[in-house]
Symmetry: C2
Subunit: 203 residues, 2 copies
């Protein structure tokens, strides 16, 4: 059976999805693709980070999703049989470039006009404020999925200021273009954000 997703990708299931229970009990990969609109962006960033690592340009890793484990069954070789997702209290990515600490969150939006701030958790804002306080480089990578995946690096301090000063609940696309820095897409790296980091923070 073929399942279609909002992002246009399809997924082959091993057996037809029949009953209501079957529909709800699906593999986590399926869940991730469907629920996480940033999957394409995450994939592109992971490939870019692999490229940077191979070329000895920087070392950036993705933090694993925090999971609270309730039960482990050792009769099946440490199989986790009961657990739930925890909210990430930090950001998705961090690493090192020329000795400096980098920390960023990547978000994709399907809005064509603005970036909704509801995409960002208060924890992430607090975390990135602390990164700045300790001299690290903190930013967001924002993708407009329905605008040809147009993607920008936006310094975290801009978003923090926006949240503190503005009453609006989203940053207009025009402002992201104006105050952010467009990230080039290509074959390899897929999303060359490091070039922008170099230009913005090291010149």
């Amino acid at each position: 059976m073929t399942v279609k997703y909002p992002n246009g990708k399809t997924f082959e299931t091993k057996k037809p999805i029949g009953t209501q229970a079957d529909k709800k009990i699906v593999s986590a990969k399926l869940h991730k693709s469907a629920a996480n609109r940033g999957m394409g962006l995450e994939y592109d960033l992971n490939l870019s980070n692999e490229y940077y690592l191979e070329k000895n340009l920087c070392l950036v890793t993705k933090r694993p999703t925090p999971i609270n484990i309730v039960k482990v069954d050792y009769t099946k070789g440490a199989r986790i049989t009961n657990a739930y997702f925890e909210k990430q209290s930090t950001t998705d990515y961090n690493g090192v470039y020329k000795g400096r600490y980098l920390d960023f969150e990547a978000k994709s939006t399907r809005s064509k006009t603005s970036f909704p701030l509801a995409n960002i958790s208060e924890h992430q804002i607090k975390h990135l404020s602390k990164v700045i306080k300790h001299g690290g480089i903190a930013f967001f990578i924002i993708e407009f999925a329905l605008l040809n995946n147009d993607t920008y690096l936006l310094d975290a301090s801009y978003i923090i200021d926006f949240i503190n000063k503005e009453k609006r609940k989203s940053i207009p696309y025009e402002d992201v273009k104006k105050y952010g820095h467009q990230i080039k897409r290509g074959y390899n790296p897929r999303l060359d954000y490091l070039q922008v980091v170099q230009e913005v923070y090291f010149k």
Copy 2:
């Protein structure tokens, strides 16, 4: 019922552990305490990191344990019903201090004479080599649990050199004392490794 662990800690279970299956299907917290000898060290480091964060001294976070999710049951509100532990391909901790990138692994040993290198995975050595290559600060925190929890910061390059040059499979305690830097224990922070980082890497 009270369960005793090798580290001397006890754990109260809610009901008596009876059958063989019961013995094997236990909570993950139980598992963690029993399996991970570094639990005390991890706890001390997490408290120290909280202290540093409160005092605005540095920002260091622990990476979540990577878990491979096989099945999620949405009938119970996104409950993970089948998953297994993945090997950590990086280290446990990273963060930022005065703009610089820090990355380290914490290990506790019950040996009284040496630190067994079997405690360190090849992935971790590769990861820390890359951290050094990109100008980050990379080290190990090594605790000798049975020597009054005597704890040292040992630069990662020392261990990498040791592995490359020496045939021995453990670093003698005397060498850890000689080439490492003792970390003071106290009430708060529990384990003041940042003081050592300041002395070793910022002077």
